[in-house]
């Protein structure tokens, strides 16, 4: 079981990569307050995500996005500035979601 965001690294591919939830990863969700549990049918793993990670993944699941687009969506959703501290961690967050196999560079 993965347990959220913990590593700090530049997201692979930089800003030009478009991230998606691979079609093989059908995700199932349980959302309680600001905690998210997501089940990945491809890996059989359950992941516990915080509010930012959960909403970011849901956004990418809804529609693939480049990092900049994702920041814009989350800033609108949370009504915060695009350069606010939580969103400065977006590269690290994307890297974590990629490492967990929940998202991947879009092949479309």
């Amino acid at each position: 079981m993965g347990d959220g965001v913990c590593a700090m690294r530049q997201a692979p591919g930089g800003d030009s990569v478009r991230w998606e939830v691979p079609s093989a990863n059908r995700l199932a969700w349980r959302i309680w307050d600001d905690e998210f549990l997501v089940y990945n049918t491809a890996s059989g793993q359950t992941h516990h995500l915080n509010l930012l990670a959960g909403e970011a993944l849901r956004s990418i699941e809804f529609a693939p996005a480049q990092t900049r687009e994702l920041v814009r969506r989350l800033a609108n959703q949370f009504e915060i500035a695009e350069d606010s501290p939580p969103l400065q961690m977006i590269d690290r967050l994307i890297h974590e979601l990629d490492e967990l196999g929940l998202i991947a560079p879009s092949t479309a």
Partner: protein, 313 residues
């Protein structure tokens, strides 16, 4: 007919001949054994369980048989057969009863994937169940016994069997395995219930089986809805209190106590999610058993009763 309705000689003839089909919760076990001591121990602990008709299909065919081998020079041996296979090494015949109980656990965990199975005790009051989940030594069996003394019905001391489609817990009120000092404690807590022979040298130390309450066996077809999930932890000098857990934490804690979550996959995620959605989750560190039981008992007293009786599963 119940097992306890038969005389010792009738029991021996049946177990050593055509076998006895015993209904244990949702399972039908077809049990054979020619070992008189084992038949006596089993029949004592399962005295109130019903014997089924010969035409009913069994879930497991179990044979506890005499075994030979090089270990015989030390002491008599026995073997545990399931559906014609021998999954374990032979074991001392003097612990055939505890071994058969572990063997049945193995059968259920390994094959009963129509249920989501948790390592926990379950008791019920007014149709609502509390799941007491935790590893061995957490105090769940002792707390379970203390709740029986307060009028709760035993669904299980070992497994919570969750029907994933219906969301209800099915009883499997097998004998309670008491270890070490808890034997004396349970004797004091539940003086009206009977404890079988004490097995002094098992892999888990001194062990005895508490015969389940007659009422629990007679109502073993009555499921219950999960209302609370409690994670007890017995520790000297712990402050005894119910500490609410967030839903996600409750989910993850209970998942670690689930035997077949990976096997059931998405169905397990959905079923456990619905359970946690409907239930309240608590940690229960405790030093004082009576206080801990009182806190759990108060949950049922304080929260309104659901008015939806469940049909038999």
């Amino acid at each position: 007919m119940k097992i306890g309705d038969l005389t010792p000689e009738e029991l021996h003839q049946r177990f050593s001949g055509p076998g006895v089909r015993v209904r244990i919760g949702p399972f039908l076990i077809h049990l054979y054994s020619a070992i008189r001591e084992f038949v006596a121990d089993f029949s004592f602990a399962y005295a109130d369980f019903p014997i089924c008709e010969a035409h009913e299909v069994s879930d497991f065919r179990v044979r506890v048989a005499r075994a030979g081998g090089w270990r015989l020079w030390r002491e008599k041996q026995a073997a545990f057969w399931v559906d014609g296979a021998l999954p374990f090494a032979v074991f001392p015949r003097r612990i055939a009863m505890p071994f058969a109980e572990w063997g049945l656990n193995w059968c259920i965990c390994g094959y009963a994937h129509q249920f989501l199975i948790f390592h926990s005790a379950v008791v019920e009051k007014a149709g609502r169940a509390v799941i007491l989940a935790g590893p061995p030594g957490s105090g769940k069996s002792t707390l379970c016994a203390a709740l029986l003394a307060r009028g709760w019905r035993l669904l299980s001391d070992e497994f919570a069997l969750l029907n994933p489609a219906r969301g209800c817990l099915l009883p499997i009120p097998r004998p309670v395995a008491l270890k070490g000092a808890s034997i004396r404690l349970i004797e004091e807590l539940l003086p009206h219930l009977r404890i079988g022979r004490v097995f002094p040298h098992t892999d888990k130390g001194v062990l005895a089986h508490l015969r389940p309450p007659t009422d629990a066996v007679e109502r073993q077809a009555e499921p219950a809805l999960p209302a609370w999930v409690v994670f007890p932890t017995h520790a000297e000098s712990a402050r005894t209190e119910l500490v609410p857990l967030r839903k996600a934490s409750g989910f993850l804690r209970l998942e670690t106590n689930c035997f077949n979550y990976p096997t059931l996959g998405r169905a397990a995620f959905d079923a456990l999610g619905r359970l946690i959605e409907a239930a309240e989750c608590y940690e229960l560190p405790f030093d004082q058993l009576a206080t801990a039981a009182g806190l759990v008992d108060a949950l049922a007293e304080l929260q309104p009763v659901l008015g939806c009786p469940l049909d038999a599963a």
